[in-house]
């Protein structure tokens, strides 16, 4: 080996040594790094585990503490999990024997249940399912269910979970309410029918009496003296009064039994049309001070309201020149109407009493004591108020309100 060759070998060896040293250093560095990383990983894992524990404890808590029944089932309907309320509701202990959801579905709701299950699979959830179920003891209960699918890591559905609320009581109350309403409607109808029949039966004899009296009068015209003729007139008047009374009672008892709905009513038309119903004597002028509003209400009832109030005003005007003024004031939530007349007036002590049924202040044959009680009742069903101001011998103003 020449000197030259030896030198080359030595240098190569030295290079190799240096390289190995460098490699060792790198290795050392790397393993240190690796150690650190793995340590870090360990703490992270630990933290993650803790978190997982925490989450599952929370879930477990939710699962255990929820008041509603919580149910997990596989996609074939086999129940996997029941929380305590679920056990209490359905009555099954799934640890002892497997239960399939099909066994729980009420027969008549089967189709609806299947459709809902389809929706669940399609959309991943359903809400507000409300149907009947059988418990273990074959009792039927109404339940409300919100449900959703549970997916695995590959996003494939593996199970379904649902919150089941027992709404049996609620449903029963609803049914009871419906039943009661129907009953009420029926008895209202019957009452209405009854009122009609009674008024018919009461009016018939009156008609007969009137006929018989007029025949006696007719057949004995030559023999009757003035006093007798006057008595016949009194009979006639009494009959008329009786008939008014019966019609009034019928009207009064009919208010509020109508099946008609509230509608927009133009009060101007109503007041204008009153001329065709009421006979306004020539010495009385009715003055509409401003345009009346359109309100929401029962048209025939509002007609009657104005008819009774204006009719009263006409009836009790004792002056040579009579006037009736209709006015309205608007407030943000209601209209305040006033009907003023220059009639006989009403003493303050009667201001409450006149609205009570059969409390007529006069003994006229056309005063039955029902008119104002009807007015009051009509305002009651429209949630309105009525009051009056009056000076005896001078004027009466009736005020009433109607909601906007």
């Amino acid at each position: 080996m020449s000197r030259n060759e030896i030198d080359i070998l030595k240098r190569a060896l030295q290079r190799e040594k240096a390289a190995r040293k460098a490699a060792e250093r790198i290795l050392e560095d790397k393993s240190r790094e690796l150690y650190l990383t793995s340590e870090e990983l360990k703490t992270t894992n630990l933290k993650l585990e803790e978190l997982l524990d925490e989450k599952s404890t929370q879930l477990q808590g939710v699962f255990e503490n929820i008041i509603d029944a919580y149910v997990v089932m596989d996609l074939k309907g086999n129940i996997l999990k029941f929380n305590d309320p679920a056990i209490a509701l359905f009555g099954y202990d799934i640890d002892k024997a497997p239960v399939n959801v099909l066994r729980l579905i009420y027969k008549k709701d089967y189709k609806y249940a299947m459709q809902s299950f389809k929706n669940l699979k399609k959309n991943g959830f359903f809400t507000n399912y409300s149907a009947r179920i059988y418990t273990k003891s074959k009792a039927v209960k109404w339940v409300h269910i919100n449900a959703s699918l549970i997916f695995n890591k590959q996003k494939k559905p593996i199970a379904a979970q649902g919150i089941v609320r027992d709404i049996t009581e609620l449903k029963n109350l609803e049914l009871q309410k419906e039943l009661l309403l129907k009953k009420l409607e029926k008895s209202n109808d019957e009452l209405q029918e009854y009122a009609h029949i009674v008024s018919h039966d009461l009016k018939s004899p009156l008609r007969s009496i009137d006929a018989l009296v007029s025949w006696i009068k007719e057949d004995n015209k030559a023999h009757l003296n003035a006093a007798s003729l006057q008595n016949f007139d009194l009979i006639s008047n009494t009959l008329e009064k009786m008939e008014h009374l019966i019609s009034g009672i019928l009207n009064y008892s009919s208010i509020g039994f109508d099946s008609v709905k509230k509608e927009a009513v133009d009060l101007n038309t109503i007041v204008q049309n009153l001329n065709t119903i009421l006979i306004v004597p020539e010495h009385i002028t009715i003055n509409l001070k401003t345009k009346l509003p359109i309100v929401k209400g029962f048209k025939t009832k509002l007609e009657q309201l104005f008819q009774n109030l204006i009719g009263n005003a006409i009836k009790f005007i004792d002056k040579e020149k009579g006037f009736i003024e209709i006015d309205v004031k608007e407030t943000p939530s209601y209209y305040e109407f006033s009907i003023k007349d220059n009639g006989i007036g009403i003493d303050k002590k009667y201001h409450e009493k006149i609205f009570k049924i059969f409390n007529s202040l006069t003994k006229r044959k056309d005063s039955t004591g029902i008119g104002l009680s009807i007015v009051k009742k009509i305002l009651d069903i429209h949630h309105g108020e009525i009051w009056l101001e009056s000076v005896v011998g001078e004027f009466t103003t009736f005020y009433f309100t109607l909601k906007k």
Partner: protein, 137 residues
Amino acid sequence: MINTLKVLLIEDDTIEVMKLNRTISSLALKHEIIEANNGEDALKILEQKENLPHIILLDLNMPKINGIEFLSILKEDEILKHIPTIILTTSNNQKDLLECYKIGIAGYILKPLKYEAYVSKIEKLLAYWSINELIKI
């Protein structure tokens, strides 16, 4: 035009029957009144097809078959359904009114309280049907 109408009055109240008869006689009208106290009697009378009335005056409140039931039976009969039937009643019950017009009536007259008012209503009613052309059955 028919000057002497044959009127079948279906009415259970004796005085109501008297009222119609007296009205006809006091107005000196020549109409013939056939009386039936209830729906069943009326149906018996209407069985004699050769002597059918021109018009029927029908009360609603009657025992056994009531007016509306009677009307329904009438309207189901191929021949009798053509006889104009006018309701003569105290009931201004909207339900009855609607039901009657639905089944088919030729008028709905309320019995007034006053006898004079009654006479006037009946006079107009009979005058109206006297000038009508009626189907000859």
